[in-house]
């Protein structure tokens, strides 16, 4: 009897043993920093001098800051363009590969479009900033030959569209394979039945393929949103946010405020704003994803 009790006690303790590392790391690297960020957003501090409590002043500053507004505008354009292009081209590619095509051909397409996704943003940025270099860049050279704008990374009109294109080049592979997986999960009986009924081409696409892979498309849109909204590396490495803040992104502005200008409180306010947007989008995703799962 006492033995059994000891065992029961041990069993009550077991879940804690399994969970303690996760809880410890969760608190140290997610929960406490989360609370900290809100705390820091209420002070002014430069890492060195005495921090000063300023209440909501930093938030007020954010709403009156023209550079922040510029960063929000750029990030917004980047995000919308990113979602549209990723979903559109990803869908076209996935449909194209899902036909009866030679195996080798499918392999080439998968390799070519997916490989850039595995590259780091640093490698990607260097490839493109050199390729687009006005003096020796091969892409810039051919762009000039066919009458496209040149030296786009140093033009305040074209720098942001160029970065949008480079982002598409790097991450289209992800949208492509997720949507392809979605299409391939459609039971073949359904599309066969539609084919027997005479549906083909565009009709098959709009009536069968597209509606049945909406969960995949939705997922791609949400991940594209979150990825694009937090975009940092290409601006940071290729354009430094320029020219004239034309490519400054929100996260880059956060980085600048906190780690270049050492305005910790203001950086924290920007990070809180980013968090709130990500939070809303993710919660929306959860809500819709649940509904889709229920509807089958």
């Amino acid at each position: 009897m006492p033995l059994r009790k000891a065992k029961q006690k041990q069993e009550r303790f077991t879940p804690f043993l399994f969970l303690s590392p996760a809880i410890l790391f969760f608190c140290c690297f997610i929960l406490f920093p989360l609370i900290g960020a809100f705390g820091y957003s209420l002070i002014t501090w430069d890492f060195f001098t005495q921090p000063k409590f300023v209440g909501l002043d930093n938030y007020g500053k954010l709403f009156k800051d023209p550079i922040a507004l510029e960063a929000v505008k750029n990030t917004f354009i980047f995000t919308i363009a990113s979602i549209v292009t990723h979903v559109g081209l990803g869908l076209i590619l996935a449909v194209a590969v899902n036909r009866r095509i030679p195996k080798f051909f499918a392999y080439i397409i998968r390799t070519v479009f997916f490989f850039p996704f595995l590259l780091s943003w640093s490698a990607t940025s260097i490839i493109w900033s050199f390729g687009l270099d006005p003096t020796f860049g091969v892409i810039d050279f051919y762009a000039g030959k066919v009458g496209f704008p040149q030296a786009t990374l140093i033009s305040s009109t074209w720098a942001l569209p160029t970065l949008i294109m480079i982002d598409l080049w790097k991450t289209l592979g992800f949208a492509f394979i997720v949507i392809l997986a979605g299409i391939q999960a459609i039971p073949s009986e359904i599309s066969e039945a539609a084919r027997v009924d005479g549906a083909s081409g565009l009709r098959l696409f709009w009536n069968i393929t597209f509606p049945l892979c909406t969960p995949a498309i939705f997922f791609v849109s949400v991940t594209a949103f979150i990825g694009a909204f937090q975009i940092f590396e290409p601006m940071y490495i290729m354009t430094r946010g320029g020219p004239d803040n034309a490519t400054l992104s929100i996260v880059q502005y956060l980085h600048m405020s906190a780690f270049r200008n050492f305005d910790i409180g203001y950086g924290a306010v920007i990070s809180v704003a980013i968090f709130i947007v990500v939070l809303i989008v993710t919660l929306t995703q959860f809500k819709f994803a649940k509904r889709w799962v229920h509807e089958g």
Partner: protein
């Protein structure tokens, strides 16, 4: 009879038509694919071209003789070997740590019963919504206090907690038939024994998929290590290579080409051999890196 002939002819015509449009579509995709990969090809070819041909106008695509001197020079000038090892070390420790911590927690959530289980799970899962941009400032302050700035621990410790990893593994563990651990329980096995002897071995595919995705994410991470590491010999590859360009960077372009080449070529070889597994892992875990 004649009716069926016309129907057949119509069908044949339609087949022929769709055949042609199929071929056209293939051609368009092929052209698109060649254009897509061209920047990488250009970088690699330029990196092995001789000094005279490198940046010729109009561009000379195929070098008349191969010149690998930029690679040997880059290897001497930049701490690439060290940065490769740093990236490998950080990615391995992050991935292993995350797999251990996530699988332990996922097992508790999937199989054990205790007070507040679902609430705790929801709280951990909510961590998914906390972006690194939010935690970076408080983490920087805290890490400075305990002295792990410019230290690899600042990179791999925070990477070990992945709410999405816990979620995915919990899903997978729940798909393992409960009868397996019930019968082990009757044989007197405790929770730890069931976890190590039954659940983990059966979860190898899920652990591998999650592992490879976490590894890639760590390997390519830039935002965090760019803030926390400042010494060149401690940098991971992405940070090291980015520090070569831009203000204060190296102006010897061809050496940078070679350093990027040294990153791309091994990656591409690995990708060729593991393509299917890699793509499947990323598609099933849905992690965009």
């Amino acid at each position: 009879m004649s009716q069926s002939i016309t129907v057949n002819a119509k069908k044949a015509k339609r087949n022929f038509k769709s055949e042609i449009s199929d071929q056209v579509a293939n051609l368009v995709i092929l052209i698109f694919a060649v254009l897509w990969i061209l920047p990488i090809v250009w970088l690699l070819l330029t990196s092995i071209s001789s000094r005279e041909e490198r940046f010729a106008i109009p561009p000379k695509w195929l070098p008349s003789k191969l010149d690998f001197s930029s690679y040997t020079r880059a290897w001497e000038v930049f701490p690439i070997a060290e940065q490769y090892l740093n990236s490998l070390k950080v990615a391995l420790i992050s991935t292993l740590g995350a797999l251990i911590i996530s699988s332990l927690a996922a097992y508790a959530f999937a199989r054990l019963e205790f007070f507040g289980r679902d609430t705790l799970f929801m709280i951990l899962l909510a961590g998914l919504m906390v972006p690194p941009q939010l935690t970076v400032i408080p983490s920087f302050v805290a890490f400075r206090k305990i002295g792990i700035i410019d230290n690899h621990a600042a990179l791999f410790l925070p990477a070990m907690i992945t709410p999405l990893g816990i979620f995915l593994l919990r899903q997978f563990f729940r798909s393992i038939p409960k009868e397996l651990d019930e019968s082990a329980k009757i044989d007197g096995a405790g929770a730890f024994r069931i976890f190590f002897r039954i659940i983990l071995p059966l979860s190898k595919p899920a652990l591998a998929a999650l592992g490879v995705v976490l590894f890639i994410a760590s390997w390519n991470e830039f935002f965090w290590p760019n803030i926390f590491i400042s010494t060149a010999s401690k940098m991971t590859l992405p940070v090291g290579i980015a520090s070569l360009v831009g203000p204060g960077g190296n102006t010897n372009v061809i050496l940078i080409f070679a350093s990027v080449g040294m990153q791309i070529v091994p990656l591409f070889l690995i990708f060729l051999f593991t393509q299917k597994f890699l793509i499947q892992s990323i598609a099933t875990t849905g992690i965009r890196g």
